[in-house]
Symmetry: C2
Subunit: 547 residues, 2 copies
């Protein structure tokens, strides 16, 4: 039997385009001999559609789309389509479903049992949980159907499970010989290594072929890596979908053979780079834009963001804007021009000194007798934000934000200033990984990011001789404290027990807590870690521990 | 038997302050003869604490706080304290609980059965659901314990229920004569009328005394109205907690009598006003601020925001900033000065013409040959945002945002410009209600908002002779279409069926969809409707229906 995994990149709520993509991929797989095909989770609408799923007209469109796809794939074999589904007579009860369509009709609907509620997931907001998964017979084989989270609760693999129910166990009990898992499983650094081990262990434990069909593409803050897999009952991977791009993978499970796609590269910079490029490309494209602009400060964050943007959109679609002030070092300008030349992107220079003087003048009387300080630094940053937004408004280019996760965590950034932008490309990339990415990029593609940018001391250049290290610990220390506090939710005591100085840890924690209000208004970022700032981390604002 | 309802206003995560508040209120009730007391839901940490509940050290602090409160109230009668709770041997399983403490010890723990997952609620992200509620015996009476949502699922009262389980029915089955409901039930316009009818119907149906103890205060986007109630088995309200302020309500259920607090005023402006004032006061105070500033444009939104701020913080703590441009009408300035005088707030005038010229100059070459338009309007708005933030930074005053819900819905606002601020006071107040509130305020308190402000045609005054009506339908039409689309999630067809023109409805829907990216970066607002922009409305950004 040949099974086709349709690893697709839908656009949320583009019913027509998504249906066309499913039908085309199904026909393509059929031509390659697929007897039966499967789409990713909720493929008719795209994942996550969030509160659009609360609208009845949208749910009806989803179900109509499934029926349309059933008719359009009449000539192909059966197809499992991911869609929300509500059964007649149970109005209001909506399930996250896999609809088995065949010969133009919806034959059977399988529903998701385990609905994730952690991190970025809110599935119980939208769906009812099925009591059990189901199987169907096809060409003499019993095929079990599971949806994403259903496969992530095996008590033998995990130290602790989230639910008492294990749908995989139940499918095995029902005699499944092949288990299909239709997924929208997001990217995370190193996560695929665990995913592959876990799915291998499931295949081996239940003596089944395990077919993982994953969504691919950027969806707001989330990137889905594709990386669909076919795993044999001995636990070995016998087929792989491409990484970070659309693919149609047809596998003959009687003689699995295709091994043309190698094991993924799990080196953090290599993985992160691909996720950032795809996340940026799809966010810009799916928002209806084709070009982007960003501020080039001469620092490493904006240099890396420019490199990502050039790779994502093509260098001819990217403009770097230099906005020097009297505090900018001459090296910053030369390095930025060199970077732009290396990348092949356009540049524009807009000095801000006279605008700074304008604000000084406007506020002279009000601020008379007060020392200049953070206020004036923020004004510089907001002048730049205003100029960048003016260019974005006039040209129709999307403004990309260049801040990194470490700065965003400790609030070392100006709201409405350098926090402006439609997408914060590096918002989940800690400063140490920014350096690793820059060095990796240069090793891989020649000297793209000038050495002067990599070697110079990090500085916001908002006052003379300012350096990040004046007010922050070294970035390797800062990033590890942040990882423990923000991602691992460790306590002060637990972090100090790792050997960090108590006053340093306390200061970092205070900075994180004091800047929640800024992050509330931050642009969406591309999630690559276990816990990113954004929809997967929900914090109170006016709270004691935040003061 | 006398039961004390402790209607408290905690600060999220202020364990010491919250415990002190509970102990003091308990002792106060005890002195008034209370035999047993009850706090609001999760009172030791405050509701909602959001992802702080995922931290183990925070959960330990909650449980220690309950034990501390038990010791400190040794001399009083039993007390039901709201707190997260995890039982030994069930690590990782945390319940939303009512802990019965007595004589210095935790005697019994009751757990919430129904965990809401709609609107702003994410309780399944944090808590496990109990299988059933429980009762205890005290002074010969059987007392049933329920927590908030547990009371909101009666199939006789609601057309449809969210869950098959009705904890109220179960408590009645267990013989409850008194049902306690510890709550954190947020304010919504007109919601208390339903709440009271629903609780009255429960008391009558199960022939019980129903004791509703609600949290009070502003918590980020949410306002809790207090309005605790004691309802007799005949369904009648026999005791009320105060509205929008802390209260300790001690009721003798053998001879219920206290009727000194009248039926709430359900007129929308009266309710909305109280919610906005409390929400603003608590957001500012709990964020560690005491003073606020805002831009005064001469329009009705900033006028009403100034009035709310003056009522919330005291007029001496509020500064209105006038930032006239060449497009500002002279009336705007006079009206703003008159408003400030009426309210007793300070003013400051910072003309922006020369800053506008500065940006024109800086962008002259880049924009050569292009027509001025929205870009230049946005620059004006962002100059004002930058000036207001500079004052906020220098003075330590919180910047209040003055935008209304109608503008925010259709994107008639400038990101990083007039969308700047720490709290958007009117973000959930449609323009028609802004007018109603202004008129109500003048009726109630003399002529506070100058007639010139109420009567003038709404205008952003960003270009000569600009009027909102140039690009938007009349506000009464706009607001009703928005209510149907955003709050009721109605389809185009359903809205047109109400008699609105299709092209107007389509245009409004398009404007809403196109401006999701702006609202993603909007400040928190004070929720007063069924669906506010913010944590209770989660939309995709890079999606087809948003283009």
């Amino acid at each position: 039997m040949r099974i086709g995994l349709l690893q697709l990149n839908p656009v949320v709520c583009d019913f027509e385009g998504n249906a066309r993509g499913i039908v085309q991929a199904c026909m393509e797989a059929s031509r390659q001999g697929a007897d039966i095909c499967v789409t990713p989770e909720l493929a008719v609408i795209g994942y996550p559609a969030r509160d659009l799923l609360l609208r009845e007209d949208i749910l009806e469109k989803c179900m109509h789309s499934v029926e349309h796809i059933a008719r359009e794939t009449y000539g192909a074999g059966p197809l499992l389509v991911g869609s929300p589904w509500s059964f007649q007579g149970q109005r209001g009860q909506v399930f996250n479903s896999a609809c088995l369509v065949s010969k133009g009709r919806v034959k059977k609907v399988f529903c998701k049992v385990l609905l994730p509620e952690y991190d970025v997931f809110d599935e119980k907001r939208y769906f009812c949980a099925a009591e059990a998964p189901g199987v169907f017979e096809f060409k003499g084989k019993v095929i079990g159907v599971s949806i994403c989270e259903d496969a992530w609760n095996d008590e033998d693999f995990w130290d602790s499970t989230r639910d008492g129910n294990d749908p995989m166990q139940e499918l095995a009990r029902q005699g499944a010989e092949i288990i299909i898992n239709m997924s929208a499983s997001p990217f995370g650094l190193g996560k695929h290594r665990i995913r592959q081990a876990m799915m291998g262990s499931l295949a081996l434990k239940h003596k089944v072929f395990f077919m993982f069909c994953n969504q691919v593409g950027g969806f707001d803050d989330l990137v889905f890596p594709g990386r669909s897999m076919v795993i044999a009952p001995d636990g070995g991977v016998v087929g792989r979908g491409r990484e970070f791009e659309r693919d149609v993978l047809v596998m003959d499970i009687s003689s699995p053979a295709r091994k043309d796609i190698p094991e993924p590269d799990f080196e953090a910079p290599a993985e992160a780079w691909q996720a950032l490029v795809l996340g940026t490309r799809d966010y810009v494209r799916k928002s209806g834009f084709s070009r982007a602009l960003l501020g080039l400060s001469g620092g490493i964050d904006s240099a890396l963001t420019a490199a990502v943007a050039a790779a994502a959109l093509g260098p001819e679609k990217v403009t770097g804007v230099l906005m020097p002030s009297p505090h900018s070092s001459p090296g910053s300008i030369d390095d930025s021009m060199q970077l732009a030349e290396n990348l092949g992107i356009k540049t524009l220079t807009l000095p801000i000194s006279s605008l700074m003087q304008g604000f000084d003048q406007a506020l002279k009387d009000v601020f008379a007798g007060m020392q200049p300080g953070v206020t004036e630094e923020n004004i510089q940053s907001r002048i730049r934000g205003t100029l960048l937004m003016a260019l974005s408004n006039k040209w129709g280019d999307m403004l990309l934000n260049t801040g990194n996760k470490s700065e965003l965590a400790v609030g070392y950034c100006t709201i409405y200033g350098d926090m402006a932008g439609s997408l914060a490309v590096l918002a989940d990339v800690p400063k140490t990984l920014v350096y690793d990415l820059a060095r990796w990029l240069n090793t891989r593609g020649g000297s793209i990011i000038p050495e002067g940018i990599i070697k110079k001391q990090p500085s916001a250049e908002l006052r003379p001789n300012q350096k990040d290290l004046d007010s922050l610990p070294e970035y390797d220390i800062l990033d590890e404290i942040l990882r423990l506090y923000v991602e691992k939710r460790a306590s002060l005591e637990e972090i100090c027990a790792r050997g960090y100085e108590r006053d340093v840890v306390q200061k970092v924690m205070d900075l994180v807590n004091k800047s929640e209000f800024k992050r509330y208004q931050a642009p969406p970022g591309i999630k690559i870690s276990d816990v990113a700032f954004g929809p997967g981390r929900r914090m109170p604002l006016a709270a004691r521990c935040l003061i």
